[in-house]
């Protein structure tokens, strides 16, 4: 079970004050937990779990099994019958240009958003942590995009990035630079969407890093100074970077699994265009399933999506088992 629980808060590498309550108390209470109240009347226990079990079966388990089955059929929504076609849908994917564009764009998007949003978040976290002024203020400002309605904010970005009336290009005109059609040209569209993705994710990662930084014992910095690390730069590489290891791993996986689900901004701003240049996985699933009603094919793409997400989680749990503990 330990590998799977790697996803739960109990194994989170950071500690917010509140998370402490959740994470540490079970450990502290371990002896009592062993001597658990044995009055446990199985009937009552099942009665208490019954609503959740029924909802789970109806909303998660059965649909999951159904998707697995659908992926191997040619079922179309509204059709009276369907045939089992084995791996036919998966074979079709290989020759599907929309699908290959979708995979490619999703990968590019993730590889753009993850490093940038993580790097920027780490830089900002170190800057915030380096002084006392306005800590809560900065944190709130950078976190704001996380709680903002993505569709609405995407619309605001569309105005900012508008080729002729947008402030960004107005600024570029002033300094005499080129004025690309950010969301309308196939060269720039993924970069623009990726930039919005970075904007969305930085605050989230920042808060995780802040928690990770607060957890680093102050004495380590003093010790590194004795060892000759005078500059902030060498202290960062000597102390902060290795101590942030577990947090970093967690943030990487979280950011990847968040950015692989990009949908709202694409659906709002580009609808996958121009010419499939911003087609992404979730949108392809949506489009194939609920626009063309090819449920079998859409289910097969869903499985690909699921396998990628599970793969990311597997990497995380593998690495967490091996991660180095300091302090």
């Amino acid at each position: 079970m330990a590998t799977v629980t790697g996803w739960g808060p109990a194994f989170c590498p950071w500690k917010t004050p509140m998370a402490d309550v959740a994470m540490q108390s079970p450990a502290v209470k371990a002896p009592t937990a062993r001597a658990r109240t044995l009055r446990g009347d199985a009937g009552i226990a099942w009665l208490l779990t019954l609503p959740a079990i029924l909802a789970y079966c109806a909303m998660i388990l059965l649909p999951l099994l159904a998707v697995l089955a659908l992926a191997f059929t040619d079922y179309e929504f509204g059709a009276r019958s369907f045939r089992w076609i084995g791996f036919g849908n998966f074979a079709d994917m290989l020759g599907d240009r929309t699908f290959s564009a979708s995979i490619r764009n999703t990968v590019v998007y993730c590889l753009f958003v993850a490093p940038l949003s993580i790097g920027i978040a780490l830089g900002l976290a170190v800057l915030i942590e380096a002084g006392a002024r306005g800590r809560a203020f900065w944190r709130a400002v950078f976190f704001l995009p996380v709680v903002s309605l993505t569709v609405a904010m995407a619309t605001a970005w569309q105005y900012l990035l508008h080729p002729s009336i947008g402030p960004l290009n107005a600024l570029l005109r002033v300094i005499g630079a080129g004025t690309p059609n950010w969301l309308g040209s196939s060269d720039w569209v993924i970069v623009s969407l990726g930039f919005i993705g970075v904007w969305e994710n930085v605050g989230f990662n920042l808060v995780l890093f802040l928690a990770g930084l607060t957890a680093i014992p102050r004495e380590l910095y003093a010790a590194s100074e004795i060892d000759g690390a005078r500059s902030g730069w060498s202290k960062f590489w000597l102390v902060t970077w290795p101590m942030l290891g577990p947090t970093m791993l967690f943030v990487i996986i979280i950011t990847m699994t968040r950015s692989i689900r990009v949908f709202d901004t694409v659906q709002t701003l580009t609808q996958g265009g121009p010419n499939n240049a911003s087609e992404v996985l979730l949108r392809t699933i949506y489009q194939e399933g609920f626009h063309y009603f090819r449920f079998g094919y859409s289910a097969a793409i869903t499985l690909v999506f699921l396998v990628i997400v599970l793969g990311l989680m597997l990497i995380q749990t593998r690495l967490i088992d091996r991660r180095v503990h300091y302090g």
Binding site: P9, A10, V21, A22, A55, M59, W138, A152, F305
Partner: protein, 277 residues
């Protein structure tokens, strides 16, 4: 380090301010454009203050074209409907998993962990089929039902409930309380921080969701805020950025205001529970 004089702190503050400006840019222009008349928007000037205010025109147009309050109301009904059932189903189950001994407990918990691995978008196709079969497309039920079982809530509450002393529960039993009232009157009140964190996480996630409402809702009077903006873009506003920004601002405001009032709780809630985000 903490009490550095302001002058030495300036480079750090300047860098942070620059980054903050980029992050806040869409908000700043959203507010500015929402009070600008259309001709000024199209002049593409960098100035933020309008020469002629168009606050009434822009917001008036939004309110006259789309039922913003209905969308916000729908958003509230859906979010709190989902939250209500999530708590109703998850809390007793989490209590049983944390504090009661029964055969099959490990199995149930195993399924909870399995559920944590599955993004909700995975199950959209069969859920749509089922909801269609039941004739429930275009209903609050379609928007709420698929999210009623939150394995994440079960997991989170279980972690919290394990920390509650058994003595407290035994004392309640000696006082003659049944297991059901123990769950709601003893255990849950002792896990309010977890409940708050989860509530914030859940409301933010579903207020912002677009994927699922887009699939099951076609009727305008059931649109959620996110869908409302999409509809307004395609139907009416097109290039009328003044009205568009006004609409965007109106539907973004409720959560952002709530966030500004309770920042700490929001940040804790979302990052603590964020692994399902």
């Amino acid at each position: 380090m903490q009490s550095r004089p302001l002058i030495l702190d300036l480079p750090r503050l300047a860098l942070l301010s620059l980054a903050a400006f980029v992050v806040l840019a869409p908000y700043i222009w959203m507010v500015a454009v929402s009070v600008k008349p259309q001709d000024e928007v199209f002049k593409a000037s960098l100035s933020l203050i309008p020469q002629k205010w168009a606050l009434v025109e822009n917001y008036g147009k939004v309110l006259a074209t789309i039922p913003v309050w209905t969308y916000i109301g729908n958003g509230l009904i859906v979010c709190f409907g989902i939250l209500f059932f999530q708590i109703l189903f998850a809390v007793p189950a989490a209590y049983a998993l944390a504090k009661l001994n029964f055969r099959g407990r490990e199995l149930v918990f195993g399924f909870v962990m399995l559920g944590l691995l599955v993004p909700y978008q995975t199950t959209a196709l069969p859920l749509y089929l089922g909801i269609h079969q039941l004739g429930l497309l275009n209903s609050y039920t379609a928007l709420i039902a698929p999210f009623t079982c939150s394995v994440f809530a079960i997991f989170l509450f279980r972690q919290f409930f394990r920390a509650i002393p058994d003595d407290l529960i035994n004392a309640a039993r000696i006082d003659g309380m049944g297991e059901f009232s123990i769950v709601w009157r003893v255990v849950l009140p002792n896990a309010l921080p977890a409940a708050t964190a989860f509530a914030i996480f859940s409301v933010v996630a579903h207020w912002n969701d677009l994927f699922w409402p887009l699939i099951v809702i076609q009727k305008g009077d059931l649109y959620t805020p996110a869908m409302g903006i999409l509809a307004f873009r395609s139907v009416e506003a097109g290039e009328d950025y003044g009205a568009l920004m006004a609409a965007a601002l109106l539907v973004t405001a409720p959560l952002v205001l709530a966030f500004l009032l309770a920042q700490r709780r929001f940040i804790e809630g979302i990052t603590m529970t964020g692994l399902k985000g």
